[in-house]
């Protein structure tokens, strides 16, 4: 910090709003890691901006309450236009109306087609006579319960399910067998106002694995139900019930053994068992966590986005939290996890507190200072190393282009190394050994992708830096474990990133420049060596 100036409020504001260049953002991000003063100032700015955000939401809420119902553009807006406009605009509104009517016809036809498809699927499912077997896992308001798939009058083993039976009863939905296609069809048949949608859900190979039947309505307390049926057998797999205002109830079929305490007998056959033992929610396992990492990896969200994965305090759920994720992306990620047990996506949580960079776990939260070579030590009048770089690059514009590209690539390397480091932290050797073979393969695949990406990024950096005569010399190195290698790789990448910022974005003296170049060469060579070793270890 001694050799760096503090950032101005304008710069911090630009940083907060993402209005700066990648280079500036990178520099400030690094600075903030070590500067309590600027971090505190940024925190104050964010707090004030958020406070206004709350007030703005209140204004919006208040305004919406005061407005008349909005007229669709197609039918009503003309009536609101002052009379002087009406003559000129009649044709326009007429054309909008016509277009909307046409669109409405297309939508109605599409909906009709969905309704027909839904009817056909429900009929087929009912005719196969398949019934949900095993037990149901019910999740609502963060609580997980298990119960038999079908309740009978004599079933005394049903768990305390609170107000759920009442909610289903109010909605005229069969609580005794909620995942049955017939129950869905009965409820569906009673609705006067409904919209249907059928979605084919595909597996990794692109084949249709399941059908999701979703019906929404504006009447009653049950506003939407999405029932998922296996594509081949049409057996029910899971259902999502959206009660207003009580919230979501997720129900899925689960193998009976998942509901048993370890070593315990099957609760179905032992109705006398104490409910609190029988219905204990199963804790989240490393496999659950890995599934989350794999899904994020598949979405490309494990390295470049501020998403955090951790176990909750009770270790019963894997929490996926994030900061500033766009609504569309949020939806995409939520959808990816919607059917995963023991996973809670909570983008709002954790966004207001803690380290905004996402480095939350202790091993990455406050990285110790690393040796990044010589300190900046130019004094007024001393010749700057930048002139040397400019000459080597072929002019100031070319140098600027190299600087921008290099620092951006370096940020990508840091993000990727952090993702791999997080994986290493979450899946230590003992934890990894508890995973099944297929899960270990998944883990290996993610590691392989990350390390290969790091090799590619390292090579790109080497190419970008070629004009400065930074010739890398990667060598074959042995790592004690992939976890140790990943931790070293993260440390090295972080040091390299700091070095690059120092060399390219600060005013190094001509005297210090060559040392920085040499340190960069060493760090970049090490990055390539470690990434290659990681890649080899993942084979």
């Amino acid at each position: 910090m001694d050799n760096q100036r503090h950032y101005s409020v304008e710069e911090l504001m630009g940083f907060l709003d993402g209005e700066l260049s990648a280079k500036e953002i990178g520099s400030i991000d690094h600075h903030l890691r070590a500067c309590a003063r600027c971090s505190s100032e940024l925190h104050d700015l964010r707090t004030a901006a958020d406070s206004y955000g709350h007030l703005r939401n209140e204004i919006l809420r208040n305004t919406k309450a005061a407005l008349s119902p909005w007229r669709p553009l197609s039918t009503g807006a003309v009536e609101c236009i002052p009379a002087r406009k009406l003559g000129n605009s009649f044709r326009i509104w007429w054309s909008i109306t016509a277009a909307c009517v046409l669109m409405a016809c297309v939508i109605a036809w599409l909906h009709g087609s969905d309704s027909r498809e839904m009817g056909r699927l429900l009929q087929r499912a009912a005719s196969t006579g398949t019934r949900p077997v095993g037990r149901l896992r019910i999740r609502t308001h963060g609580t997980i319960l298990f119960r038999p798939a079908i309740l009978t009058r004599t079933d005394e083993s049903s768990p305390p399910t609170g107000s759920l039976p009442v909610l289903f009863e109010q909605a005229h939905y069969n609580w005794a067998n909620p995942l049955s296609p017939r129950s869905f069809a009965d409820w569906h048949g009673r609705l006067a106002d409904k919209q249907d949608r059928v979605t084919a859900l595909r597996d990794h190979s692109g084949a249709t694995a399941a059908f999701q039947l979703r019906t929404t309505t504006r009447s009653g307390n049950l506003r939407a139900v999405a029932l998922t049926l296996a594509a081949d057998t049409l057996e029910p797999r899971e259902g999502r019930f959206d009660f207003q205002p009580d919230g979501l109830v997720d129900i899925s079929v689960t193998p009976a053994e998942e509901t048993r305490p370890e070593g315990g007998p099957n609760p179905i056959s032992t109705p006398a068992r104490a409910p609190e033992k029988v219905y204990t929610a199963s804790p989240a396992s490393p496999e659950d966590e890995l599934r989350v990492f794999a899904a994020l990896h598949a979405l490309g969200a494990d390295a470049e986005e501020p998403i955090e994965v951790r176990l909750d305090a009770e270790k019963s759920h894997v929490l996926v939290t994030g900061i500033g994720i766009s609504p569309a992306r949020r939806k995409e990620i939520e959808n990816a996890f919607s059917s995963m047990p023991r996973v809670v996506v909570a983008f709002d949580r954790g966004s207001d507190s803690g380290d905004s960079r996402g480095y939350r776990d202790e091993s990455f939260a406050t990285p110790p200072p690393v040796d990044t070579g010589p300190a900046t030590s130019n004094s007024p009048g001393e010749p700057l190393f930048r002139s040397v770089l400019e000459m080597q690059a072929g002019g100031s514009e070319k140098l600027q282009a190299i600087v921008d590209s290099t620092l951006e690539t370096s940020s990508a390397a840091l993000a990727r190394a952090h993702a791999l480091g997080t994986l290493a932290h979450e899946f230590s050797t003992p934890t990894e050994s508890t995973l099944g073979a297929s899960r270990q393969n998944t883990l290996r695949r993610i590691r392989s992708d990350d390390s290969r990406a790091l090799v590619d990024i390292g090579n790109k950096l080497a190419k970008d830096l070629a004009p400065f005569r930074i010739q890398t010399a990667p060598r074959e190195i042995a790592i004690s474990s992939w976890q140790a290698g990943a931790a070293a790789l993260f440390e090295n990448t972080r040091a390299l990133d700091q070095l690059l910022n120092k060399m390219l974005a600060e005013n190094l003296s001509k005297q210090d420049g060559p040392n920085a170049v040499e340190a960069t060469r060493r760090r970049l060579s090490m990055l390539l060596s470690l990434a290659s070793a990681e890649e080899a270890a993942a084979q």
């Binding site: 409020v9 209005e19 407005l67 007229r71 605009s89 909307c100 501020p306 993000a415």
Partner: protein, 187 residues
């Protein structure tokens, strides 16, 4: 899992997707843009000092103008900036025409939310909001407008387009505005 770009963090309060990019009459998107933007736009117009009913009327007129512009072959690169610019101008004109000059500031106090969990929370929340409102009233109109538009999810470049000022000036206005709010909140 790392956060590399702070722009991902801004405007956490925004939940509605923002229309952006070029639009034409041939696309069935106007209705959707209208649905997604109308509340936000009405809220902005209320912040400018229009009563809710007037804000609603102006919002609908903005969309009429959008259709008209597209129909006349006007190329609109950034629909959101265009919409808010028209809304801003129409809002100010309406206020002047309807002699709402004396309502230059909305009745902010009525936005103070009384519905919080406990009496302590209520007191704290009210106090905080009142400090904020007092600071808002002290801002210059341009600083306030920048703040309002930022909260509607507009980038500096877009705010500059709406208010016909330079993006760097937007940055300065916003910095001062947020600084004033910070000072107010910290006493």
């Amino acid at each position: 899992m790392t956060a590399s770009a702070p722009d991902l963090r801004r405007k956490a309060n925004m939940t509605e997707p923002k229309p952006k990019g070029e639009l034409s009459t041939s696309q069935p998107g106007i209705e959707q843009v209208y649905r997604e933007t109308r509340d936000s736009m009405a809220g902005y117009l209320v912040c400018l000092g229009l009563p809710a009913s007037q804000a609603q009327e102006v919002t609908q007129e903005v969309f009429l103008r959008l259709h008209q512009a597209l129909r006349n072959g006007q190329k609109i690169q950034d629909v959101r900036a265009w919409l808010f610019r028209v809304a801003h101008n129409l809002g100010l004109n309406t206020r002047a025409r309807e002699r709402y000059r004396n309502l230059a500031d909305p009745d902010w106090e009525r936005f103070v939310n009384p519905e919080t969990n406990s009496p302590e929370d209520t007191a704290l929340s009210r106090e905080r909001s009142q400090l904020l409102i007092a600071a808002l009233k002290d801002l210059s109109p341009q600083q306030r407008n920048c703040l309002f538009l930022r909260a509607e999810g507009l980038r500096y470049r877009e705010i500059a387009e709406v208010l016909r000022i330079k993006p760097s000036t937007v940055g300065e206005f916003l910095t001062r505005a947020i600084q004033r709010l910070t000072e107010a909140l910290h006493g």
